[in-house]
Subunit: 405 residues, 2 copies
């Protein structure tokens, strides 16, 4: 069981979470309970680090920000104890959860199960584990990136071959799209790992992408549930376990996307490679790419990247111009864009999905600026002002308002 | 160098502390910097624990409250790095500082010096150590009791055979008495370990008692300095290093003291023993004891203890009456008392100190309720309302307003 930051925001919410844990204990289950920092705590700590320097030592950052989870784990253990449940807290290094030393974005390498198994054998009913944190080979605290507690939960579920991995959050489950934009968005009873992975990486904030990857690799039976509700949530599972498949399961979007066009690049082999090589070296997270038809031996290369990286991207390109063996006449940026994506495993077996998407947007006079696709996803970049309209009309076009599966 | 909670209360105060560390680095010193939690943090955390249960698991308490020091250590390391100083943070378990498993009041057993020495050899200039915390044999976080960061500092100074141990706090040093009560109280340039130990255990809050014991055992050259001032502070040192000794060095007091009289105890051998045995079993911290002259085979036993323990003490005595083989007619409590103590190594060689003390109080018509003495200390219990008057007149009687040593 994993409870996110809003689910443990204060002592009374923690007690609510503890009641859910108690019910599982009473059903005879042994529980590994993963907790996030109390909502706001991590941001406060990051804020303090940011006030010292923008170029901070990630090892110290990790030691500092991981303290939020440590506190919640201790408090939850005390609450469970006060309810008569045999529990104790575990920090990442105590289990230990061994990770790479990529501080602030470490990956789990190995989870030692012996210590917990021993304690369970001697009467421990609930192991409360501080999420988000691990320890490197040289005994320094690491963290797993924003949302890393999801990954802690799934990794522990895999390591201990847990019956289930229940992720408690502040929404009812995974929806066909954001209900704040499309009020008749439907909660999905089930979604496949592949779809969830696309949704997570496209900006749906319900689960950390890496946690879904891990769940898929280790076939962890993952459920997303509401801490504050009583619904059945959404089960993230194998495609085979979903009887009635929708063609499109979800529509997601991201406003944090900007478009950059490199105008007048010489159209000869290797040129685009040089441009993106230069961007990769500057760690720009290039998302969608399009190259125009050549005219007079020159072409335009357009790509999208997170809005926050536009400045760095422009600087890298300007510097690269002289040194990286490419040239261009000018850079055009557009920050007023949004990315809309439709995701569904049904696309594999149904043709015409792209056509329906483009037609629907066309009917609303929404111009598509860039397109990218994968086997189970189509993404388009459009003017940001059309975001809500696009999501609503696509939601209707693919019949997502009808409750299914 | 150790900085207390008020000296690291916020980032700007931490930067001030960092400047003092920088000056030492520039003088060519290698520094172990011990930090407390930011002022208020530990109390906040303790408050949360208290809201869950009054009977909490001290192991979880330790895991929770130690997080304050962890955060400060990380932030200080970042601040020092931003000033170009090679530094990193160390948590208790990373050094490790091995302690007993008496959670929330653990004692240091062993400090591993190898890891820090290795890092110093490879260029580390400042090791920032989270004070107050250690780790038990079974890898759980322990804490050293309130003010435990002083003990961390002195223990590290001893283990690493440090040249000095500088304790930075929010006062100029150790005073002849509390300047808030006696404005002409003088800062002491030097004080002996023995005197400091008496003052600390009698309620002077400037240093944790155990840290002074440790400093005395290992002859650590201990200085108390003001983070926010430029004075030379007070050196706590061997008696032999103090040339001109005062007869009385300091006057301290405690308001947190109550007097309890057990009236009508049968005056026969072993009776008082039974009474105090009963109190000891209830963990009552009995301080001063007096027994009246017997009358008709009955006597009164009076003792003092912390005000907060009066309830428990009375309950223990009432229950003990039937089972512990003693009897009494009634219990009389007096919470309106205060304890005043005069401390000085000069008492050993000077007679008449007690006489001067009693005469001075008598002249002010202050009645002495209980007296206790040690080789270098005399304590009296008086009505609390006379506290200020008593301190001021004793300060004058022993000539403490004159700057010396």
């Amino acid at each position: 069981m994993k409870f996110g930051g809003t689910s443990v925001a204060d002592l009374s919410k923690m007690k609510g979470a503890a009641l859910r844990v108690q019910a599982e204990v009473e059903s005879g289950n042994q529980i590994i309970l993963i907790v996030s920092a109390m909502a706001g705590t991590t941001d406060d700590l990051i804020g303090r680090v940011g006030q010292i320097s923008s170029l901070y030592d990630a090892r110290e950052y990790d030691a500092i920000v991981s303290s939020g989870e440590t506190v919640t784990a201790g408090l939850m253990a005390l609450i469970l104890q006060s309810m008569g449940i045999n529990s104790r807290s575990w920090q990442g290094w105590q289990i230990p959860i061994n990770t790479t030393d990529d501080h602030s974005n470490a990956r789990i390498r190995k989870i030692e199960t012996g210590n917990l198994i021993e304690k369970f054998a001697s009467g421990m009913q609930v192991a409360v584990v501080a999420g988000f944190q691990g320890v490197s080979d040289n005994s320094r605290i690491t963290t797993l990136g924003r949302g890393g507690s999801d990954t802690t939960a799934v990794a522990l579920a895999a390591a201990f071959k847990a019956k289930r991995c229940d992720i408690y959050t502040d929404v009812d489950g995974v929806f066909t799209t954001d209900p704040r934009i499309t009020p008749n968005a439907q909660k999905l009873e089930k979604i496949s790992y592949e779809e969830m992975l696309e949704l997570a990486s496209l900006g749906a904030k319900v689960l950390q992408t890496r946690s879904v990857e891990l769940a898929m690799s280790y076939k962890v039976r993952l459920r997303v549930l509401n801490s504050f509700g009583s619904g059945s949530g959404t089960l993230v599972c194998d495609e085979e376990d979903i009887m009635e498949k929708r063609i499109v399961s979800g529509i997601t979007f991201s406003k944090d996307e900007a478009k950059l066009t490199v105008v007048g690049v010489k159209d000869k082999p290797g040129m685009a490679g040089n441009v993106f090589d230069c961007l990769a070296k500057a760690s720009i997270n290039v998302d969608m790419i399009i190259q125009n038809i050549s005219e007079d031996g020159l072409t335009d290369v357009t790509f999208s990247c997170p809005t926050s990286q536009v400045g760095v991207a422009k600087k890298a390109l300007e510097q690269g111009k002289s040194t990286n063996n490419f040239n261009y006449s000018k850079l055009v940026e557009d920050k007023q864009v949004a990315k809309i994506s439709i995701v569904g495993i049904g696309m594999r077996s149904h043709s015409g999905v792209a056509q329906t998407m483009f037609k629907t947007l066309g009917k609303e006079n929404i111009n598509i600026k860039v397109i990218s696709t994968s086997e189970i996803k189509i993404s388009v970049l459009i003017d940001r002002k059309y975001l809500e309209l696009a999501v609503q009309s696509l939601h209707e076009a693919f019949g997502l308002e009808k409750a299914l599966n």
